[in-house]
Symmetry: C2
Subunit: 620 residues, 2 copies
Amino acid sequence: MKAFSDLSYTHHNHNTTGKNETVGKNQKIVQSPIAQAEESCRLWLELLPYASPQWAELAFHEQCFWRDFLAYTWTIKTLEGKTAIASMVASSAQRCAVGDIQITEVKHHPEGFDECWFSFSTAIGRGIGHLRLKQGLCWTLFTTLQSLHGFEEKTGKLGTRERGTNHGVIKGRLSWLEQREQALSRIGNEDQPYCLIIGGGQGGMALGARLQRLGVPHLIVDKHERPGDSWRKRYRSLCLHDPVWYDHLPYLPFPDHWPVFTPKDKMGDWLESYAKLMELAYWSNTLCRKAVFSESRKAWEVQVLHEGRPKTLRPKHLVLATGMSGVPRMPQFKGQEAFKGSLMHSSRYQGEKRWQGKACVVLGSNNSAHDIAADLWEQGAEVTMLQRSPTIVIRSESLQKHAWGRLYSEEALAAGISTEKADLMAASWPHRLMPGISREMVKTVLAEDADLYEGLKRAGFMVHMGEDDSGIHTAYMRRGSGYYIEVGASQLIIEGKIGLRSPAEIIELDEHGAVLSNGEHMPADLIVCATGYGPMNGWAESLISREVARKIGPCWGLGSDTRYDPGPWEGELRNMWKPTAQEGLWFHGGNLMQSRHFSLYLALQLKARYEGLPVNVYDA
Amino acid sequence: MKAFSDLSYTHHNHNTTGKNETVGKNQKIVQSPIAQAEESCRLWLELLPYASPQWAELAFHEQCFWRDFLAYTWTIKTLEGKTAIASMVASSAQRCAVGDIQITEVKHHPEGFDECWFSFSTAIGRGIGHLRLKQGLCWTLFTTLQSLHGFEEKTGKLGTRERGTNHGVIKGRLSWLEQREQALSRIGNEDQPYCLIIGGGQGGMALGARLQRLGVPHLIVDKHERPGDSWRKRYRSLCLHDPVWYDHLPYLPFPDHWPVFTPKDKMGDWLESYAKLMELAYWSNTLCRKAVFSESRKAWEVQVLHEGRPKTLRPKHLVLATGMSGVPRMPQFKGQEAFKGSLMHSSRYQGEKRWQGKACVVLGSNNSAHDIAADLWEQGAEVTMLQRSPTIVIRSESLQKHAWGRLYSEEALAAGISTEKADLMAASWPHRLMPGISREMVKTVLAEDADLYEGLKRAGFMVHMGEDDSGIHTAYMRRGSGYYIEVGASQLIIEGKIGLRSPAEIIELDEHGAVLSNGEHMPADLIVCATGYGPMNGWAESLISREVARKIGPCWGLGSDTRYDPGPWEGELRNMWKPTAQEGLWFHGGNLMQSRHFSLYLALQLKARYEGLPVNVYDA
């Protein structure tokens, strides 16, 4: 608190609980830790509206982070250290009048910090924030924009639900169906979408749903025949690896009886219904061929093939929601034209039953490689996995127990942690602190699941927990791969039911199989290359141009200076859900949680531009 | 309380609140009204497990009701008066060991009664009950079975959610899609449904969903091409007349942004998704031709035409869920073969635009007649309504404000009244008491909406509030029709935009129009007969036999001895959701609230029989 003693200020009393109101400045009474925590947070937040570089120097801890989703910066950014924070504050002071701060929840942590949730208002919208204090100084601050003044979504809870029909009788009015059919027939023809979303998986749909609710004209285009096919067309045994509590889409949560791990075809059906029920503008059977941004018109010209017919779309904004992975990375092998068996990328593997009794080789050792190897074994094939480099392995149950269960589980719901709250809680930690938190979790898991890790080592499998032992979460953020969530295949490897060569590469192919790096000839009827995907901005290169792809730079990754994630440190996923170096171009993707949570911020950015609100992006 | 003083009993203390525990038998302290209410309810309920005819005599008020949904009677029944209650208790004493009674909520009503909600357990399942006490004696008791021991539905909240996949690797296992496709291809062929549901609207689907969750093999057959068509194929301007809070289906509630009054095509889309997402066994394009019950096999033989191909189904139980209305009632007019215009029943009216500038006559003055007249006017037709008898009219807003809003609204939800709770609250009143309650509501509405009622009278419209002034609710229960929920058409009548003849009948038709009972000749290009539907057991007559239809007797109606609802008094809807005089034959229908709530009890009855549990129906 002493840090504030130099500052004089006048302010409203934002303490809504009524506690401590009678405690004057010079009184000293013994407060409970939680009351002290509330008092500290209240005092700290009372100065937030008067943020200045001087204030930043005084109010923040030596190690400090300010993560902001749009509220101050109109981008997704983490500022680290007082200097960075002071710079942002100096630049933002004019644009962001924060007020109406209300503390909604306070916690005291005996290990040495207090935290609180608060709501606030800016000139442009309403937000939710989170604060962690150490000795009264800010350790982490998290500010998010949640809605735009005057453009709040209509909901039941707010009492602003739409009527569905206007009672009364109106000459010549159109029914809901007629209106919807008219809108769908005009979009892409008489009417241009303000925002074109390429890719109609969970990412594109979640964003489309938010834009629809916000009244931003959108169109989703997808190459498959039916919404949901991006899941249906994967290998037959695929189920979501994340549990149901983590996977809800916006607005239409899975019902209470939904299975924990959704089978892929059930997911496909859900998405197909979602597109319909959320009234998305969705074109199936549509290939995107070329997109060019016109500087003069400030709009895109996008060539598509819609059900075989060429069309030109002219959106103001283009969102690539084709998945966090880029184009499948298919190796070329010497002699592969001589190979008589089947050779395919994992993305093409569907799991037909014809491999029973056949010799199958899976190149790679991440999630897809393990799932496909197990699927082949279930069908009676002889499977061998070729591991090229060490892999992070963690049991699905352990991941849920030690990582997500606290936020995404039945227990979390019972404790009042809604899905939306869980998303914010997870995001309240800056990426810089995550490896440290994750390493603690990794230690626990390594001890608890020692049988698994010892078994894998005995089988010759190269298992590790990442370059800095920070496990799956940071691997996911840094490179989006490099791990397997164990649901049975590791056990098959331990038991020798799935054969293993490690380390092993394919040197060349011949008529009957593969020659490995150890000189062994491995006969094969099928070789599946679970060799991953190219970078996400590969989509930009193939759809727009190499120049634009270069200008944008890499997508995903934090700049952690680890393998596949070169520095410098960015502190947020590169180019995801925020303005890029190419005007009007956005990237959206990731798992279901990210598709749900970050589609909100992307939609708000698009809505603000659609409505012509002042949007000053802080791009220092 | 004095009524209990003669009885000696030993019991566990069911008071979970911990209040009053130190109050001994002979102590007298001043209690708050709510504490007194809780004490009264607790004392009363402590004897419920020891129910006997003698107890009934002592524990009930002179005017008393016991409404039971399965828990005691394995049917849906209201017992009125001590004698009826004593008889039931005498007969049920052996079969129903009630225990584990827990009071969950207590209220004191200063107008002279206390009420509480409680949970309980029987030998066969768990239930929810409700009690109203006057001076410590029971005025109304309501007992419901909610689940069967050992057959509880798997849910997230109970921590029994299904996994979706069994982690681990199992040779030759089928994926979710393969299992589902196999089950769907077998049902009606290798596998017979235990329960066949005829009619795939909201009623059939709600029941199908509950049976699916309970693991009872079912099949829904429906004549339309697509699930949801029963709504899509109605007139173009139709929206649900009940608001969204009243309309949820089980398991998959409408999302928070859903409009208040769902347009019919949006409802159709919702139902189509519902069938898919709830994994219903659903045959579209299927006509039912004949059903015969085999006494020897205790099963039905049902002839259907499934996508044009004849099939025989052999379910143990047959549910007619073809709507609470029977076959359309189409009058025959003298001279109708000469009429050059279009003549149709309201069920066939779809609202094509071709009636602009044409002379249109709507015969009838209930909901459909008004909606169709307004729809024609909106399209620019010249419309005249022929009113044959007085009609109950109430503004939609007033219905919501004074009738349903307390239970089904955003405000009710905010007050903690979930949809399921609202259903039970509504059902806690015996039908006998409803006219009295409704009459009070009617008085308020007549005063508030005097402009509407005066305007209608001035326009010559015969408006009333039912034979006993008890309004729309009782009319709905007695005959399922006779009313219009005003959403604009009454205003058009008042303003003369919809013409009116009242009272008026069509005497005969000629080439150009209709001759009315007042001798007037009314030219017409279109005559829509909104003349209602035949009785529900008409379905049984046409599908099974006249003998079975006669054995069953009328469906729907309470036996109120009013027009279209002959006595004797039944106290519950006749034949609905409960055993009928024909073994293995059930009726299901009604509005969305009834489809939702009563599908639970019908599903539990079917599940109990499917599992071979002891089911003793009290049929006194």
